[in-house]
């Protein structure tokens, strides 16, 4: 069965699960370049010292544009776990495991846990950053050519 024929093979940014990561589309592209190197980074303000997350192009506290990239811890500890059994969005498998994790006192994050069986993750467990490739963006080039732009995203996994 066919879908909407005029949309066949078309990419819609408004239906994309993941953000645009290339420098043509996003000023915080270094986050994703660092992520490819398995570094978890964000921006800190050189003027007032505020460490923001997610990374920004201006400081939300003093509005300075003088920002620098800093590393965040790549290991954390689980505070709360949930497993979603119903209503998991397209693109994610059931059960979808989430955890609220403490990143060494620097950040409390709601994250997806991958490479983990149902019932396996417990409060107090140690988790670490896990980087994985996600679907490339088919970017239109000249004369109708399509250039795939590679992407990554991150979740966390249990340290076994």
């Amino acid at each position: 069965m066919k879908g909407i024929s005029i949309l066949e093979g078309k990419y819609a940014v408004s239906m994309d699960l993941y953000p645009q990561q290339g420098r043509e589309f996003n000023r915080i592209y270094p986050f994703y370049e660092n992520l490819k190197q398995k570094r978890f980074t964000t921006t800190r303000c050189r003027s007032c010292g505020w460490r923001a997350f997610p990374p920004r192009v201006i400081c939300p506290e003093c509005l300075s544009e003088e920002l620098e990239w800093v590393d965040l811890p790549v290991k954390g500890r689980v505070l709360v776990v949930t497993e979603e059994e119903v209503g998991v969005p397209l693109g994610f498998e059931t059960p979808l495991i989430h955890a609220l994790i403490d990143l060494d006192g620097q950040l409390t994050m709601f994250v997806r846990i991958i490479n983990c069986a149902s019932g396996e993750l417990k409060e107090g467990d140690e988790v670490r950053l896990a980087v994985f490739p996600v679907e490339a963006v088919p970017v239109e080039g000249k004369k109708g050519t399509i250039i795939p732009q590679e992407r990554v995203f991150f979740a966390f996994e249990k340290v076994k």
Partner: protein, 390 residues
């Protein structure tokens, strides 16, 4: 200073509807005018439309002129749409209130609604990825919010001893309140045992702990007091004060998961403007998207001490005859939750309670409150209504 009154309100039937978004807006507009047969569509000078998923599910922007055309309204003071996801409706109400109070508009209809059921059900779940911070929380799979509120519930249970029975009591109460609501999505009662034994959605939340996905619309008319007196023969209901607050958006920036600071700020602002306190509220409609939400809202609205929300429901203090009946029309858990319409539905129920013609009436109610939550617990909107100005 000009005073602002609520003079009419009505809604479409809510649920899984065989109707388009514009069908639903027409039904709600008609129901609103039928509530008060003195005012007509030609008396409305401003229109504010509240809808969050109009682009996602109906592929329609520039919605307000479309709705105006369908309802035979010719706006001349304001004609625009507002969006704050689940609190789009109460955002429309506070904006109409401000425009009327300041003299920009005199008589404004606020109408909100959503068509969420599309031919394939995955679409609305998927669209939810764009309702949280898409690039960060959405990409973690935080779509429909049960996982988020399950984490809230787990932490509240651990910190304050709140129980699964107490969560279930909220749905039992709200389903009971919604039984006679002719426009609600669910009109069947649920008993405690059924609620406790229902299918798990995200532990500890079970089926009846979660509000459903809903198609529907609702409309309300606000007017400056002088015109309100001309356009209605029912008791006047005033908007006494409001507050809307946000302190963070992405989950990583939420200071506390069990105390909703932005709710306290919004409520504090609304109480101060209205010149009342939580002890003065006779009836409230709060955002019971999940049972745990209503329990935390008792606390952070100041109806009880922090951590005692579970006991507040267990002791019947939020039921008819209790300290402050909450969600007297059934709330989101019974009525359903078409995002842009919910705040308007809450306002309509408070209007009826204060006029004295609600389906399930709180006797002698003179001060009512609505609370609307939106996003990943990111924003809170509180409106206080009164039969009296002071």
């Amino acid at each position: 200073m000009r005073n602002v009154c609520v003079i009419a309100g009505g809604q479409s039937v809510w649920g899984l509807r065989r109707a388009t978004q514009r069908d639903l807006f027409q039904e709600a507009g008609k129901a609103c005018f039928e509530d008060n047969n003195i005012i007509t569509n030609k008396d409305i000078d401003g229109l504010i439309v509240a809808s969050a998923y109009t682009e996602r599910c109906s592929f329609q922007t520039h919605l307000a002129p479309l709705v105006a055309e369908y309802l035979g309204i010719r706006p001349r003071s304001v004609c625009a749409r507002v969006e704050l996801l689940c609190a789009s409706g109460s955002s429309g109400i506070i904006m109409a209130y401000g425009l009327i109070k300041s003299g920009v508009a005199d008589v404004v209809m606020v109408i909100g609604g959503e068509k969420l059921y599309t031919p394939q059900r995955w679409e609305v779940n998927y669209s939810e990825l764009g309702s949280v911070d898409h690039d960060w929380d959405g990409a973690m799979g935080l779509g429909l919010p049960p996982p988020l509120f399950a984490m809230v519930a787990k932490q509240h249970m651990k910190k304050y001893g709140t129980t699964e029975e107490q969560l279930a009591m909220v749905s039992v109460k709200n389903r009971r309140n919604g039984m006679n609501n002719p426009k609600g999505q669910f009109r069947e009662p649920v008993d405690l045992q059924t609620a406790l034994e229902a299918k798990t959605i995200v532990r500890p939340l079970k089926l009846y702990d979660c509000c459903p996905v809903t198609d529907g619309a609702a409309a309300i008319i606000l007017a400056v007091e002088e015109k309100a007196r001309y356009f209605t023969d029912k008791p006047l209901v005033y908007i006494r004060g409001c507050g809307q607050a946000t302190m963070s958006n992405m989950t990583a920036n939420m200071a506390s998961w069990t105390t909703w600071e932005a709710l306290k700020v919004a409520a504090g602002q609304a109480y101060q403007k209205a010149g009342v306190g939580p002890q003065d509220v006779d009836v409230a409609q709060t955002h019971d998207c999940f049972t745990i939400s209503e329990i935390i809202e008792y606390e952070d609205l100041g109806f009880c001490e922090k951590g005692e929300g579970g006991w507040f429901i267990q002791e019947g203090k939020s039921d008819f005859g209790g300290q402050v009946p909450v969600n007297t029309d059934g709330g989101l858990l019974s009525c359903g939750h078409p995002f842009g319409a919910t705040g308007i539905r809450q306002g309509i129920e408070i209007m009826r309670q204060l006029r004295g013609d609600a389906v399930r009436q709180v006797e002698g109610a003179r001060i009512g409150l609505t609370h609307n939550l939106s996003g990943a617990i990111a924003a809170h909107t509180v409106v206080i209504y009164g039969r009296d100005l002071e």
